[in-house]
Each structure stands twice: as C-alpha cells, then as structure tokens.
Symmetry: D2
Subunit: 169 residues, 4 copies
C-alpha cells in the first residue's frame, strides 16, 4: 500500500482485520478431477472424498499467501478442523472436473472459518451454451493448536500472523 | 412411557411414523478402532476418516433391522448423503477404540436424518475410574433416490418401508 | 504334533525361529466387509482399499500375540512397509464379506514378511453348497525402523522380541 | 510421421506393437504433493496413498493420448488392476512434491503392464546442488474387461485400439 502514503488520512484507521476481510472476498480456485478412486458404486464421487479436496484447497490457498502448512506443523502449530458442514447439491461423476472455490470468511483470534463452493469449470469455448452447476457448498472451522502442549493457542504464530498482515496490506 | 398405560385410548391411532420415532430413541452402537491408515501426521485420526465410520455405522444399523444396503442398491434405490455436519470435540489417537452411536432421528417422506455420537468405549473393568469422552457429534441427512431416473423418489421402496414398519411394531 | 511325542529327541535343539515358523503356519483370520466407501464406479471394492485391510489384519494379528502397535510406535519403533505385491483374483462386491487370512511367513533380523489370502467366509449353513472363492493373495514386507534416528534398527525392540519368543513357546 | 512417406520401404514392416513399444519408452510425468490427508501418524505418506497416485497418473497418461477413461467405462470397457507390486525406497513427507513417472511397458492382447518411478521434482534453480531421490518403483498390470459380461475381453475396444494406433504412428 506504499502508493497510498500520499492519500489523506482516513477518518478512522482501517484495521488489519477489516483489510483482510476485504481482500479475502475474492475466492481462491482449486481444480479437482473425479478419478476412479474418488468414486463409489454409484459412479459418482463418494461423499467423503470432497473432504480431502476441501483440505487440499485450503492448504494451497495458504501456500498462495506464503504460509507453508508443513512448515507450520514443523514449528509446532497445527490447524485441526473443529467443525465441518457440507451440503451436497449435485454429484460429480467419474472423469468430471470442477473448480473448488475457497475463501477465508472469518478469523477471530485463533479460530478461522472457511467457505467453499464447488462449481463446474469455466468454459474454454465461448460458443458452448453457458452452464453453471453448483455441486457443493461447505464451511470448515479450524483452530490453531500448540502441538506440544496439545492445547488451543492464545494467538497465531508469528509466521502465520505475518503472512496475514502481508495479505492485508 | 409406562405412565400412559392407564390413559384412555387415544382418539386417533398412533401412526407408524410416531411409533418409529419412539423406537429409534435407542442408539445403535458400532465399535471403531483407529488403525494406522486412519491417522494423519498429527498421530490422530484424520478428520475425514470419521465420515467413513458414520457410513459404516449407518449401513450396519440398517442391516440390524433387516435392510441390506447392497440389496437396496440392486433394486434401484440409493440413499445419498445430501447434508452433513460434524463437530470435532476431541481426536481419537492411533490404536484407540471408541463406540460410534447412531440413531435415525427423523424421517419425513424420503428424507432420513441420522444423529451420531462418538464416545469412549464402555469399561470392561468396573474398578477403572469412570471416563466418558465425547469425541465427535454429527448429523447426516439422506434422501432416497431412484438410481435409474436419477431423481428423488416420491416414496421409499416397499422393502425399506416394510422393514421400518416391522421396526415400529 | 501329538504323534511326535514318541519320537527320539532331535539331534540339535529347535531354535526359537524354527518354532515360530512352525507356529505361524496357522493363519490369523480377520473379517472384512465391503462398505460403500470401499467401492468404486464399478460397484466393486476399489483395488487400493485392500491395502487398508492388509494393514488392519496385520495390526490385529500382532495384538493377538500381545504386541500393541500404538505402544510400539510410542517406544520409538515403526514398522513401515518396504515391499508390497498383490494379485487380484476376483473382486469383492458391495455388501459382501470375506475372511482375510494373514500369517507371518518369514522373519530375518528386522525384516518381517507377511502372507495373505482373502477368501469367501466360512458357511454358517452346512446345507448351502460349498463355495470357496479366492479373492486376493498378497505379500507385504516390513522393516523395523528407529523413529528418532529415521534408520533401520539393528534388532527388534525387547517388547516385540518377547512377544515373539512367547509365541514360539 | 508423414515425412517418412518418401522413405524406402523397410525390409520388413514394423508392427504397430513395435512402434508403440518404441514410443512408450518415454515417461509420462505426473506431479504429486503430500497433503495432510495423504499422511499417517509417522508424518509421511501412508503406503496405500501411492496406489491412488499410480491410478491418477495412469488415467492422465491415457488422456494425453486421447483415451478418456470415463468414456471407456461408458462404452462398457473397464481396466481393472489384476497385479500390483510396489517397492518403497524412501517416504515422501508432508508438504513434499514429487514427479510420478509412468509408462506403458508392455501390451499383449488385453493385458497392459505399466512401470512407475516416483522421483524428486526437477530443480527450478540450477544453482541448487543436484538431488535425485527415488521414492518408489511400481508395476501395475491391467486387463480389459467387458463390464456387462463381467469377462475379460478378447480384444481391446476400437476407441482404445485407435488411440494406440495413432500413438504408434
């Protein structure tokens, strides 16, 4: 936000969390494909498979803002899921691809809430009639846990906080 | 409901669904064990693993009342999950066992709602100090789908209905 | 081996490993059932699912001789798979059960080789025509690894060795 | 290979299978990443996870030569695994990426054999000291099965054969 140094001061300071909020209104997009091992007897993706994809999209979204999940674990911080809710609108079939959209909806203390939408992929061919299928919506809540103590952290570790601060600039 | 034995007969018959409701207040119990392949880097059961267990408990509960899930699929009826919510209270660790309690909470038309609780197993040794850990609570909603048409059924297939009627007697 | 009681004493002592060899010629049996999440689009158990069952049978076989796998991990010993081969003879279908037979075929130093056969379950009803389906055969090789050093152990930890010695008596 | 039309005729015709053999000596490369759900209590990728990756690489390799696996299934042809062998050289850890190299080694009738190597990824930075880790080698054998009859096919379906013929030109 260096260019904004010449701006008039805002009537009140925008907090980092507000800035983060604004920034994260855009979705991170993660492409998934229904491979044979993802399906069940019905020829569609087994309902539990999507949980893996939610996790993958989350990890890659964090990586995109400089947070390497494996590094986080190494410094003793884990981000276990404490709450999960999924609504299955339509099933993905064997061989189909879709875009899993993920965004951090909310962060209060060490509690981080993610929103997800799984949608049909963008059309490569503009002549194809438009089609927008919503396969799934989900919410996942994580908390930061101190791995050694096995307890919820009082605050996020510096590396995570720095990344989020960077994000909010 | 013993106190009601002295009541005057109800002006209307108790419906099958009401009877079912009463009957299913008891839990079906399914034993699970955290095997290596269920765990993740944190040495605890990976959060998606529990989804498999919810399904297994559901299938075995149905079997206990005479509904063979594979037979159901063969006659063209599927029971996909349309809604899932899980709250993770405490994580099961490698090698630990627990009791997954399942019950049909509600059935309206072709929509069936299940409740779950994952708890520490009953103590084999009465001298051991009592310990009751609640690991997880969950709700899962299924709908009956006609496999051939790929559409939600208007009513449950006879075999399922008969089993539920038998259950309610 | 009762008939052998009248035999002359062997010219050399039977080693513990030979005794173990003899003992482990009997199979440990582990019941499996094809649940929906085990299947793929073809309505049969996905070929990777069996790997989980091989592991479960191994863990439970060890437990049956007093080796708790989670305890083993806690004292710093891991038993990773270093070699795996599976032959798929016939596929298990949704809802079917089978018996996974496991035995320790060979143990040389810290290298342990397991044999497996997945077969149709024993018949509860003697009037049913006999049917013996062989679904799968497999071999799995483990080595004992020191978790802290990340290196192959020079010998098995005492708890494991004691259990195997007990087994061989 | 249109340019070769002007060449002298070979002393004997190169069979399609020979040409295929030659062509498939190059590896198809598929990038994998160890996500949390791929790991086990030891912080490394669980040994069964690799089976999923072998399948994904196979499906994507086939797609790269015009064979859509889902389409294959739709026309009634399945390619189940009948034999699998994996040697685990070194474990991939949480967050690490690797290149899964796959190639069709052999094809006789409806039997197709694949070779795999999982290796450390190519270095983006030429200044980094070279490092080439071999994580895993594997062989997988498939057979073409007529889904309706549930029997091994006598020959590959036209769409597959055409793709392979195209590949061999």
């Amino acid at each position: 936000m260096g260019d904004q140094q010449n701006q008039l001061p805002p009537t009140r300071a925008i907090t980092e969390e507000e800035a983060l909020q604004a920034k994260t209104e855009s979705w991170y997009e993660y492409l998934v494909k229904a491979q044979p091992h993802h399906t069940d007897y019905a020829g569609i993706v087994w309902h539990g498979t999507y949980i893996s994809w939610l996790e993958e999209a989350r990890v890659e979204c964090l990586r995109s803002i400089g947070i390497d999940f494996a590094d986080l674990v190494k410094i003793g911080c884990d981000l276990p899921v404490v709450d999960l809710s999924v609504r299955y609108h339509q099933a993905l079939r064997l061989g189909e691809t879709a875009v899993l959209k993920a965004r951090m909806r909310d962060m209060s203390g060490v509690r981080i809430v993610w929103d997800y939408e799984l949608r049909s992929p963008h059309l490569p061919n503009p002549e194809t009639p438009p089609q927008d299928i919503l396969y799934l919506t989900a919410q996942v809540t994580l908390v930061a846990v101190d791995r050694e103590k096995g307890k919820i952290m009082r605050r996020l570790p510096p590396s995570v906080k720095n990344a989020l601060v960077k994000l909010s600039r």
